[in-house]
Amino acid sequence: MAINLASHVEAAALIIQSGFSSMASIVQHELPFVPIRLLLKNKFESDITIGRVNMPVLVIHSTEYDRFHPFPHGQRLYDLAPFPKQLLRIRGRYPQDLTSAAVNPNFFSEITTFLNAHTAFHLHQPLPSIAPVIAATIDSNGIEASVAQYRSLRTGNPNGFNFREAELSRLGAELLRQKKTNEAITVLKLNAEQYPQSFSVFDSLGDAYVAAGNTAEAMRNYQQSVTLFPDNQNSSRVKLDELQRKSASALP
C-alpha cells in the first residue's frame, strides 16, 4: 500500500521493512500448483510499483530465515528500486525482533543516518539502548554484575542511554529465546521494579516464570498484569485462566 502510494505522490523518502515482491510470489511458494495469479484479488504487486517510486528508498530486511518474509524478496525490492537506495540487512526471526535493540542495536540510528544523507533533514541520533550494554555484561561478567551496572548507569548517567521499559522487556524476551531463563527472570524483575505500573512488564515476567516451570510466580505476575490492565484483551488474563485450569486439574 505504502509502496503504491509512494509511486504516485511526492515525499521525502520511503522505508520498507520486511517487504515482499508480490502477494502472488509469496503464496505461490506455499501452493506451487495453484494458479495464484488468476485467483488472487489482492495482488500487492510491489515489484511493479517500486520502479515508479521517485524518492530515496531504504529497504530493511532480516537475513535470518523467515518463511513468510524470505530475504530474497527484500533483495528483489532493493534491486528494482530506483536510486538513491540502500539495503539494510538486519537480524531477527520474528517481527518484534526487528526493532529490538537487543537484536538490532543500530536499527534506528541506521534509519537516521540514511534520512540525514538523502533528505534535507537534520535528525537527532536516537539515544543508544541500554539493552546491548546489559547483554554484553551478562555474557562477560554475569547477571549480578549487569544488574549493578544498570542501577549505576541509571542513576549516574540517566541521559546517556535509553532506559525505556521496552529495552529490558525485549532483552528479557531475547534471553528467553536463548534459553537463559534465570537471566531473563532477573532482567524482567529489574524492569518490573523500574516500571511497576506497566501491565506488559508483569506479563513478560509471567512468561519467564512459565518457561522456568514456576507456576505460582507466573500466576502471581499474570494476576498483577490483569490488575493493572483489567481489559479482556489483556493476554495475561487468558494465560492466568489456563494456568488456573491446569492447577485445578492437577489436584487429587
Binding site: M1, A2, I3, N4, L5, A6, V9, E10, A11, A12, A13, L14, I15, I16, Q17, S18, G19, F20, M23, I26, V27, E30, L31, F33, V34, P35, I36, L39, L40, K41, N42, K43, F44, R67, F68, H69, P95, T99, F108, I111, T112, L115, T119, A120, F121, L123, H124, L127, N162, R164, E165, A166, Y195, Q197, S198, S200, D231, Q233, N234, S235
Partner: protein, 166 residues
C-alpha cells in the same frame, strides 16, 4: 484386469481434479482471512512512554471514513516532519507504540492509519480500500496539517500472509 486398472485410474484422476478445484475455491474464499489477520488485541501504550496519541478521523474521496493514531513531537522546531506509518497485516495500530516513540525521539510526528476491519474500525480490508486509505492519510497530512511533501516519510511494514495449509 485392465478394466479394473482403468477404472481405478479414472477414479484417482477424478479425486485429484476435485481436490484441485476445491483447493482453488478454498484460496478464493479464504484470501481475505489469510492476508488480513485481525486477531491481535489492542495493547495500550505504556504510561511511561507518555505517547499522548490522538485519534483522528479522515475520509477518502468517496466519503469512506478511517481513523489513525497521531503522535505529536513535542519539539517545536522539528514538529513539521512526519512519518506516515503503515503497520503490517498481522498487527494493528496499537502494536508499534515503542516504534512511534523511537521516531518521535528522532524528531518526527507520526500518523499511523488503522485499516478497515481492524480494532474498532468498521469495514473489510482489501487492496483497493487500503490504497484509498493511504491516499486519504497522505491528503490529510498535506491539507489539514499543511505538511509539505519533502517533510513526509513513508514507512511500510508490508502485508503478511499465512498460507500454510497445515
Amino acid at each position: 484386469m485392465w478394466k479394473w486398472t482403468r477404472r481405478t485410474l479414472w477414479s484417482l484422476g477424478l479425486v485429484v481434479i476435485v481436490a484441485y478445484i476445491g483447493l482453488c475455491v478454498w484460496v478464493r474464499v479464504n484470501e481475505t482471512r489469510l492476508i488480513f489477520i485481525r486477531n491481535r488485541p489492542y495493547i495500550p501504550p505504556s504510561p511511561s512512554l507518555a505517547l499522548n496519541q490522538q485519534r483522528v478521523e479522515f475520509a477518502d474521496a468517496e466519503g469512506t471514513k478511517f481513523f489513525a493514531w497521531v503522535v505529536l513531537n513535542s519539539s517545536e522546531d522539528t514538529s513539521k516532519l512526519w512519518v506516515l506509518f503503515f503497520h503490517g497485516s498481522e498487527e494493528n495500530v496499537s502494536i508499534h507504540s515503542n516504534d512511534y516513540d523511537d521516531f518521535r525521539s528522532m524528531g518526527f510526528s507520526i500518523m499511523a492509519p488503522e485499516y478497515p476491519g481492524y480494532l474498532d474500525s468498521p469495514g473489510v480490508p482489501g487492496e483497493s480500500i487500503l490504497e484509498r486509505e493511504g491516499q486519504a492519510a497522505y491528503d490529510y497530512l498535506r491539507r489539514i496539517k499543511q505538511v509539505p511533501p519533502r517533510n513526509i516519510v513513508f514507512l511500510a511494514i508490508p502485508l503478511e500472509a499465512r498460507w500454510q495449509l497445515i
